[in-house]
């Protein structure tokens, strides 16, 4: 079997599962889940240090030689704030990759298409590798690709909602039209959701809540790892199409 490689901005990955690091009950559980998931890209957020309690830093638990650390701009409400966060991230000395999120409304955390495109254009010019989180909007996806983004990351459903891919029609069009990898980013709550994304032809998925908030995050990370492999393999192995009539699996006549 030929190695099946995901290439983002010329960097090569074997795993098609990006893992978010929020909401884990402890750093050790997170570490276990990262290992079990097989991921090669982990996302992190940027926040002020609490000066009264400058606790463990997450970087102590993630080997940045082994994993690509992908900082996000979560919390940014407009392009300017997102650009600032991206620059702060870069100053950590890690590769200048940024998961671009601009979410003005905290209730549903939907991305702002206008500000996201604006920030993406700035960040690409500044040399960042930009992975924008977007609504499943085919035209916006196309514009972000044209602006030089390294991927597009359309949401399946609202962040943390676990509803799966509710935007199937649009996602299918985005996959069809995209040259850059398509990463399904939010709302995937179960391994079957992740498998379905890959089966549809998405290049990767990003999972966080579904693993971190599971009863057993390490086992769940393993389950997602298997499901992502299953979905990808099925995509490559040529699935059967839906049929309206029954297709007998046994011969019809005795």
């Amino acid at each position: 079997m030929k190695r099946d490689i995901l290439t983002i901005a010329k960097r090569k990955f074997d795993s098609r599962l990006l893992l978010g690091t929020g909401k884990f009950s402890s750093p050790n559980v997170m570490k276990g889940a990262i290992a079990a998931s097989g991921t090669e890209i982990v996302t992190v957020a940027l926040r002020r240090i609490d000066l009264n309690d400058p606790k463990d830093h997450i970087l102590g638990y993630i080997n940045s030689k082994k994993y690509l650390i992908l900082p996000n701009t979560s919390g940014a409400k407009n392009a300017e704030e997102a650009v600032r966060l991206a620059k702060i991230a870069r100053s950590f000395g890690l590769p200048a990759w940024i998961k671009l999120e601009v979410t003005p409304d905290p209730r549903y955390l939907f991305p702002d298409p206008i500000e996201t495109l604006k920030a993406a254009e700035i960040l690409v010019k500044e040399g960042f590798t930009v992975l924008p989180y977007i609504n499943a909007d085919p035209i916006l996806a196309k514009r972000l690709q044209d602006a030089g983004c390294a991927t597009v990351m359309p949401l399946g459903s609202a962040i943390g909602s676990a509803k799966g891919i509710k935007t199937k029609e649009n996602i299918a069009i985005i996959i069809e039209q995209s040259i850059v990898p398509v990463v399904i980013d939010a709302g995937l709550g179960t391994p079957s959701h992740a498998a379905e994304a890959l089966e549809m032809g998405a290049d990767a998925v990003l999972i966080n809540t579904a693993i971190a908030a599971a009863e057993n995050p390490v086992e769940m990370a393993d389950a997602f790892r298997l499901a992502v492999m299953a979905g990808r393999k099925a995509y490559l192995a040529g699935m059967i199409s839906e049929a309206d009539m029954a297709r007998a699996s046994s011969p019809l006549h005795l």
């Binding site: 978010g20 690091t21 929020g22 909401k23 884990f24 997170m30 996302t43 992190v44 957020a45 940027l46 926040r47 002020r48 240090i49 609490d50 000066l51 400058p54 830093h57 997450i58 970087l59 102590g60 650390i69 900082p71 996000n72 979560s74 600032r84 620059k87 702060i88 991230a89 100053s91 950590f92 000395g93 962040i159 990003l206 966080n208 809540t209 971190a212």
Partner: protein, 67 residues
Amino acid sequence: MIKVIVNGKPLEVKKETTIADLLSHYKISPKVCAVERNGEILERNEYLRIMVKEKDIIEIIRMMGGG
């Protein structure tokens, strides 16, 4: 003494305090944070050289869990 704001809170430090001194005061390793002064991000290799000034607004940022 000079007055600065660090992560939103007022702080008094001695004159000639460097960014490195400030981090050391809070027991923060320079390797795991980013520092912004008055909206400008500082290079890590300048921490020993750059001194805080009266009314500086300093933000010390870390990475943490996020999706």
